[in-house]
């Protein structure tokens, strides 16, 4: 099972990233644990400088923008 983390302090872009992730795993039928990381101290341990960021199994895949559903599916495949 994959662990997907969405890093972001709760702005609108972070929310749409979260929504897209949920949609992607639902559509692709992937078992994954989705965690929203909103604590800035924890976010900074991933060394990202722009949010939202998408972390799959502890690897930062996307930062500073909202990925669309198909892109997330590709990342998880």
């Amino acid at each position: 099972m994959k662990t997907i983390k969405i890093l972001g302090t709760g702005c609108a872009k972070c929310k749409s990233t979260h929504a897209n992730v949920l949609k992607a795993i639902d559509e692709a039928n992937i078992q994954a644990e989705v965690i929203k990381v909103e604590d800035i101290t924890e976010i900074m341990t991933y060394n990202v400088m722009s949010t939202p960021a998408l972390v799959v199994d502890e690897v930062v895949k996307i930062k500073g923008r909202v990925p669309d559903v198909s892109e997330i599916k590709d990342l998880l495949a």
């Binding site: 702005c11 872009k13 101290t41 900074m44 722009s50 500073g64 923008r65 990925p67 669309d68």
Partner: protein, 324 residues
């Protein structure tokens, strides 16, 4: 350049909606459609261009540049310049701040970036271009970058590192691990849809504010007497610039709505310099950003930071009024 929009607006209002061409309502509506379409188009184009620029110069690369190169004092200028091309989101200001100081960029240089990033942003630039023209926009952008350069340099000279919060000091103490970042591997064509979508999202996000702003502006235009502000808030009153700056601080969220209203103020006699100072304070000094920055700065540092920008903006306002 925008004649075709005017043509379309006239056609829509006078032709399709059949409103008399000489009527006050007809003229107002035609202006409204023209202004809104022109601004939206400018905004979309500017956001697209910025999106493409940013796809090639992500903040990580900018940080490494500021970090590695010996820039002989120009690092403040470059930080401010980079700040102006990076799209600003107040929720990213803390990660940016930490990322910069963690990567070894001096505090003053980081602050140069942090001052300019909201001050010269794509929405403000597009709105300015649409309502005040190229010359005023260039003055706005160039002075915003200079303000960031000198503001950061000045704050750097004050040696304020001890006023950072303990959390940041802890990060600084065990920093210096070279942050590797993955280069984007997707090609330009692959990225274009995402850039376009983002640009569209930004335009859609401010659409309502622009319409409200233009609406208020249009309503005011007809009812505020000519030269009203010139008599009451003209250039001979020294306190107008500080007053405008202080009034602007709580107005952050509505930058798109504010420019169309300011334009009416200018048309009715407020000096352009005062208006630019007001704009800068609107976007450059915001309470929401301040609350976020409290994570990394002690109250004292935050107060010094805000006070410095405020004073610099007020000075710029006076300079603009002298030269414009």
């Amino acid at each position: 350049m925008f004649d075709w929009i005017q043509f379309f607006a006239d056609w829509l209002i006078f032709g399709v909606f059949n409103i008399a061409e000489e009527s006050r309502l007809g003229i107002s509506l035609s202006f409204f459609v023209y202004d809104t379409l022109k601004i939206l188009l400018l905004l979309f184009v500017i956001v697209m261009v910025m999106g493409i620029v940013n796809a090639y110069f992500p903040v990580e690369r900018l940080r490494d540049y500021l970090n590695r190169k010996k820039l002989y004092g120009f690092e403040y200028f470059f930080a401010a310049l980079f700040g102006s091309i990076t799209p600003f989101c107040s929720c990213s200001s803390v990660p940016l701040f930490i990322g910069f100081v963690q990567g070894g960029v001096p505090l003053g240089v980081t602050l140069s970036f942090l001052i300019t990033s909201p001050l010269v942003n794509q929405i403000a630039v597009a709105m300015f271009l649409g309502f005040f023209g190229l010359k005023a926009t260039l003055i706005y952008a160039v002075s915003g970058i200079l303000l960031g350069t000198f503001g950061g340099w000045f704050l750097g000279k004050l040696k304020l590192e001890h006023l950072l919060t303990d959390w940041v000091k802890g990060i600084l103490a065990n920093a210096q691990e070279k942050a590797a970042y993955e280069e984007e591997k997707r090609t330009f064509i692959q990225r274009l849809p995402a850039i376009t979508r983002e640009a569209w999202d930004i335009v859609r996000g401010v659409l309502l504010y622009i319409i409200i702003g233009i609406g208020i502006g249009a309503a005011m235009y007809g009812y505020v007497p000519e030269d009203f502000f010139e008599q009451h808030l003209g250039q001979d009153k020294w306190w107008t610039v500080p007053l405008a700056v202080i009034l602007a601080v709580p107005m952050y969220a509505n930058v798109a709505a504010i420019v169309p209203v300011i334009q009416v103020f200018v048309a009715k006699g407020i000096p352009l310099g005062t208006a630019i100072a007001f704009m800068m304070a609107t976007v450059g000094l915001s309470i929401p950003e301040g609350t976020l920055l409290k994570k990394v700065m002690t109250f004292k540092l935050l107060a010094i930071f805000f006070a410095t920008i405020t004073i610099f903006i007020i000075i710029s306002g006076y300079v603009f009024n002298l030269i414009l």
